[in-house]
Amino acid sequence: MPKIEVSKKDLMNLTGIKISFAKLKDILLEYLKADVEDVKGDILTIKLEDTNRPDLWCVEGIARALRVLLGKGSKHYNVKPSGITIEVDKKLKNIRPYIACGIIKNVKITDDILKSIIQYQEKLGGTYGRKRAKAALGVYDFDKIKGKRLHYKAAKPNSIKFTPLDFNEELPLNEVLKKHPKGIEYAHLLKDKKYYPVILDSDGKVLSMPPIINSNEAGKVTLDTKNLFVEVTGTDFQTVMNMLNLFVMAIAERGGKLYSVRIKYNYPAECGFEVSPKFLPTPFNIKPSHVNKMLGLGLTLTEIKKLLRKMDYKILRADSVNDIISLEIPFYRKDVMHAVDIIEDIAIAYGYNNIAPIEPRISTKGKLLPETNKHDLIRELMIGMGFQEVFSFTLTSKDVLFDKMNTKGKCIEIMNPMSRNYSVLRNSILPILMNFLKKNKTVEFPQKIFELGPIILPDEKSYNKAKQLTNLCVVIAHSKANFTEIKSVLETLMKNLGKEIKLKHAKHKSFIYGRCGEIILNGKAIGIIGEIHPKVLENFDLENPVVAFEINVDEL
């Protein structure tokens, strides 16, 4: 989820209402799914939980939401045509087909604005644009762009040269991907493409190479810049349009005048003109009865209307007889996909903590899974025999599972582990309990422990290539621990469960040969028992004899 840094002073200025820090924190949390994570002087770090509300990922967006919530009403944004057209090369269809542009004139660029522009551009391209793959955004000094007919072209990788941002030499496009830091970072987005996208002005000068990097000349914004040109390119039309809308609207929050650009598409199926930015609200109907049924409230039409307005919805028509409210979703709320999204907004506006919780009124019969009852019985018997129950992680390392146990075997491996210690799923509990003993070397003996829990084995035949079993592992460690002692425990347990088991000599490298057996139930091996081999004890740094058994309780 995105995190942004905002200046509290800047936020308050943009909002135009003074509120205390505590109140600000509450409003952010209770209405905007945003949490102040850190405060350093005037700078707040705000975490935005809603990965689907990019309109809130900038100080201007938060200020806009606060203004509406606090009753100052919503702002209207005027857009005038700029007379500029950008033509889209039809060869871009399968490369990066969509573009949207906008112009903001007379912006007074300050440090705050510059910081906000860079941060918002990053969050939009990174999270909303899925690391620039779906959409990415560029900002330019409008006064350095020549002419009224711009081009969004597909260019051969070595056909054109330009100077990328912060460089002082011209490079062909394919060199930019190899030499510029941003080129290296995002080269995968253009992998195997015959053409690369470029934006050219009327003079044929390269303004940028989306979604990689702007040119050093036109693509640089400084404190002296007065008029901005903004462009978004991407693979999804709606995302591209929305990203542009959100960005230019944010800058317009600080003043400046908005101008639109015409986009000429030449794709066979989508020929014609588009205009951006375009601030069109979406009409939508909801049923007041649906609202009340879902929330369990008895809100009147007037109440619902009031709550909707608090969240910046415009009411077109409300009719209780026909059970309908016609409304407009603000153009910046592309996250609204279904009536339920609007119902959540109504609940948030009402205040979650103002809704009285109730106990579920339906009556049903509860029950545990049969296996839970069996597991509980086994645990009870083990505790009765004086064993301490333990509870361990299922993630571990091959070192613990195999090397230290003096064995070889297969287990489920994680592709992206955070640490080697948690890189595979345990295929047995015994190594985990041996590790437990190691960590408790200095604790009083005898140590008698058990764990009942899942183990996971690789299984090529299964739909998920895994087989999950429940095992019981029992371990005894003290100076006189021996085979007879552990066998007594196993047999007592089995007798109480009404099972008759046999032991058969087995070779297992973790155990002493001749003192290790397979546990056989109805002719099937269900586990292993024995005295742990001194070599294994040494590997776990243990100085007392250890005896153990492990069985699959699913077989019992």
Binding site: E49, V340, Y352
Partner: protein, 505 residues
């Protein structure tokens, strides 16, 4: 004041012996006086000391004795003496000296070093010649050798003749003598010990009641020794449930009473169940490798769910028949088959909603393990448990969901303060987070909940509202039992497990 009657006869015997022998008595003397064995004396001394009736001064006695090499030299003479002896008459070569004096390499080196330092020899043209000082030395008394002879049996310092003591440092340095230390306990009566002494008298009492005593009825004319019932007793390491698992057992009981049925699902899941069926877009940030563990070589088999997969593709792309607009991106069925470790317990609910034995209305729960690539700290682990639940039924609303969350916070987590915070999950709307106030930590998030979106329920054929929650049960355990670090729940610390106190059970 100690009750004399609680004293064991062994203790009484020692006290009486002290009365006779006086202060500063050694164990040995006590053994002789009382005719008790060493074990008995030691036990009695420990008991009396614990009761504050005696105190003990420990004296360390050092005894010197010749080492193995020292014993050898005591017999055959010091190497340097043997060295001088063979050149007494005439100078000799190195080789001859070594041979005739029967020296090994170390002995030769030690001897020649010593003799040169003491100006006892001169070396010229490869010959070693004895000096006048050397002759004098050879014929005077060899104190070191004398001392070695003396120390063939261990001796205290004061037992060694005064004239020989000066050789001790030299011989220790050469590793020819060593020191044995012996601790000698001297027993003294304390003030209290002296006070009760007059009352101490030995009488025949029954110490441990045995079957013989019961059978031969000898208890009838004897007194039982009075026990000091406030004396400490040794701890018992009992068998018991792991504290967190006991908490889970209690929670399960509660949920059963509320009418919940237990459900279960696999740890190793397919992205289809963990994400796609939950309307989580395939390019959603929460599906990236830093948020989900992927299994190596992991492409699973979804052939059983072909029709559903087709439906879900449409739901993601344009909403299908759910009334939703969908996510507008090309759905990739290959990604649905990714094998992962489930990152939440919600796929267990999804599997239940898909199953043939689903009851409507119904209440279901599971408490099980989930995995996330998190950095471990006091409230984050890379694998942890969630308590997951769903209630489905025509009349179910958001208020019931808040009611369930409140029950978990107050009754399960035992907290005093809670609040509901709007949350965001791709699969629920409205979505809510439960936050509780934990003493010493402040507000912490317990988990998320909401009403399943139509994009989730309708493709599964469910047309009634489904409220769902997945809470961090470890955090509820922490608030309930004042455990301030989640790592303790998976504790490797046997002491912590043995000593866990159920103060709020």
């Amino acid at each position: 004041m100690i009750d004399v009657e609680t004293l064991h006869n062994l203790e009484k015997k020692v006290l009486l012996a002290l009365k006779e022998l006086g202060e500063g008595i050694s164990q040995k003397a006590l053994m002789e006086k009382t005719s008790l064995g060493e074990d008995e004396i030691n036990r009695a001394i420990e008991w009396l000391k614990a009761k504050g009736l005696i105190h003990i001064l420990e004296d360390i006695k050092q005894r010197f004795k010749a080492t193995e090499l020292g014993l050898k030299y005591a017999k055959i003479g010091m190497p340097e003496k043997r060295f001088l002896k063979v050149i007494e008459k005439s100078p000799k070569t190195f080789k001859d000296v070594i041979k005739e004096a029967n020296l090994d390499k170390n002995e030769f080196n030690a001897a020649i070093g010593f003799l040169k330092d003491e100006n006892c020899i001169e070396i010229k043209n490869g010959l070693i010649k004895i000096t006048d000082i050397g002759l004098l030395k050879l014929n005077s008394e060899w104190i070191s050798e004398e001392l070695l002879k003396e120390l063939q049996t261990p001796k205290l310092l004061e037992e060694i003749p005064e004239g020989l003591r000066q050789a001790i440092p030299f011989l220790r340095e050469r590793g020819l003598i060593e020191i044995d230390e012996e601790k000698i306990k001297q027993v003294y009566l304390t003030k209290e010990g002296k006070q009760i002494l007059p009352k101490v008298k030995i009488e025949e009492t029954i110490d441990i009641l045995t079957p013989e005593i019961i059978l031969n009825k000898s208890w009838k004319n004897k007194k039982f020794r009075k026990y000091d019932i406030s004396a400490p007793a040794p701890p018992i390491f009992l068998g018991k449930k792991q504290p967190y698992l006991r908490f889970v057992d209690e929670l399960k009981k509660k949920l059963i009473a509320f009418g919940f049925e237990e459900m279960k699902g696999p740890i190793v899941e397919l992205a289809f169940f963990n994400n796609d069926l939950l309307f989580m877009p395939q390019d959603h940030p929460a599906r990236e490798i830093h948020d989900i563990y992927f299994v190596k070589k992991g492409a699973g088999d979804l052939s059983k769910y072909k029709a559903l997969l087709d439906k879900i593709e449409k739901v993601h792309e344009d909403g299908w028949e759910t009334g939703s607009k969908g996510w507008h991106y090309p759905f990739d069925k290959k990604k649905s088959a990714d094998i992962i470790l489930r990152s939440h317990t919600t796929p267990v609910s999804i599997r239940k909603l898909l199953s043939k034995d689903l009851k409507i209305p119904g209440k279901y729960f599971t408490i099980d393990r989930v995995y996330r690539p998190d950095v471990i700290d006091w409230k984050h682990l890379t694998e942890f448990d969630q308590v997951e639940g769903i209630i489905l039924g025509e009349e179910i609303t958001f208020r019931e969901l808040l009611g369930i969350l409140k029950m978990f916070a107050l009754e399960v987590g035992g907290v005093k303060k809670l609040k509901f915070v709007p949350g965001y999950f791709p699969f629920t709307e409205p979505s809510v987070e439960l936050h509780v106030y934990m003493k010493g930590k402040g507000w912490i998030e317990i988990g998320g909940a909401g009403i399943f979106r139509p994009e989730v329920t309708l493709p599964l054929g469910i047309e009634v509202p489904v409220i769902a929650w997945g809470l961090g049960i470890l955090r509820l355990f922490m608030t309930k039992h004042n455990v301030n670090d989640m790592r303790y729940v998976f504790s490797n610390d046997l002491r912590w497990l043995r000593n866990f106190r159920w103060e709020n059970a």
